[in-house]
């Protein structure tokens, strides 16, 4: 079972990817709460890819296994200039209130909402790989 989407940069296109998470996650028997968490992570990954990649985004969803547990795998790929995941901002609430810019939460949310996240980035290609166990604690 696999879904591949090529998303143009148009307003709210990330909801198309979120709908795919809902459909595939439901077919895998994931709890609604896990589906919604994966949907928010998908939305954030697509927004990051469109903002920093600057062009169309490719999204792949499929069932898989991670640490011998069945999971929903999501891959989001863009073709921007890339970044160093090790130095990407890790936001915290104490940094945000009183601060003029409240942006930069995407990766933090993705890491918190998904069960495993790996990022490979080089000039011309960034791939965000994330998985959510079919059965995991909400």
């Amino acid at each position: 079972m696999e879904v591949v989407l090529h998303l143009p940069v148009v307003p709210n296109v990330e909801l198309v990817a979120a709908k795919a998470v809902e459909t595939l996650g439901g077919a895998l028997g994931m709890h609604q709460t896990h589906v919604e968490a994966a949907s928010v992570a998908m939305v954030e990954a697509c927004l990051n890819a469109m903002e920093h990649g600057g062009g169309p985004v490719t999204v792949r969803l499929h069932s898989g296994n991670h640490a011998e547990k069945p999971c929903l795998v999501i891959e989001v790929e863009d073709h921007g200039q890339g970044f160093d995941p090790a130095t990407a901002p890790q936001n915290s609430p104490s940094r945000v209130l009183g601060c003029s810019s409240k942006r930069g939460w995407g990766l933090t949310l993705i890491r918190e909402l998904m069960d495993d996240v790996q990022i490979r980035s080089e000039p011309g290609k960034t791939l965000v790989y994330m998985c959510k166990y079919v059965e995991s604690s909400p």
Binding site: L15, T33, E36, V43, L47, V96, L97, L109, E112
Partner: protein
């Protein structure tokens, strides 16, 4: 789940307590629509705002960052922000982004109003 256009309404529940209901996608436009409703209620003298998100199942960090701005504005006025009817994922997102450290979260609108009006009479 993926309603693009958010539906926002506002009501004055009692003196100083305003209600904003929002159903749909909280992105930059959805967050701004909530902020506009919140500002109108604050202009009418509301220092406590309850935001009811029943019907909202998906959000993004840009939309939540606008909710953080509403929180700051209320805190500047010594006011208070509360939410109700959050899905577990929205609740967790608010926790990660720090909203629940400064805002109150209630299960539903009835619980929220009872608690807020109870506090006001103490």
């Amino acid at each position: 789940m993926n309603e693009e256009r958010i539906k926002v309404s506002k009501n004055l529940l009692s003196e100083g307590l305003g209600l904003v209901t929002a159903a749909g996608y909280i992105n930059n436009e959805g967050g701004q629509a909530i902020a506009d409703a919140a500002t109108e209620l604050m202009d009418q003298g509301c220092k406590t705002l309850l935001i009811d998100l029943e019907g909202t199942r998906i959000i993004n960090s840009i939309g939540v960052s606008i909710l953080l701005e509403i929180l700051e504005k209320l805190m500047d006025e010594k006011g208070r922000l509360a939410f109700c009817n959050l899905t577990p994922t929205i609740s967790k997102t608010f926790e990660i982004m720090g909203l629940v450290q400064y805002a109150s979260v209630y299960t539903d609108r009835e619980d929220a109003v009872k608690a807020i009006e109870g506090d006001a009479t103490v």
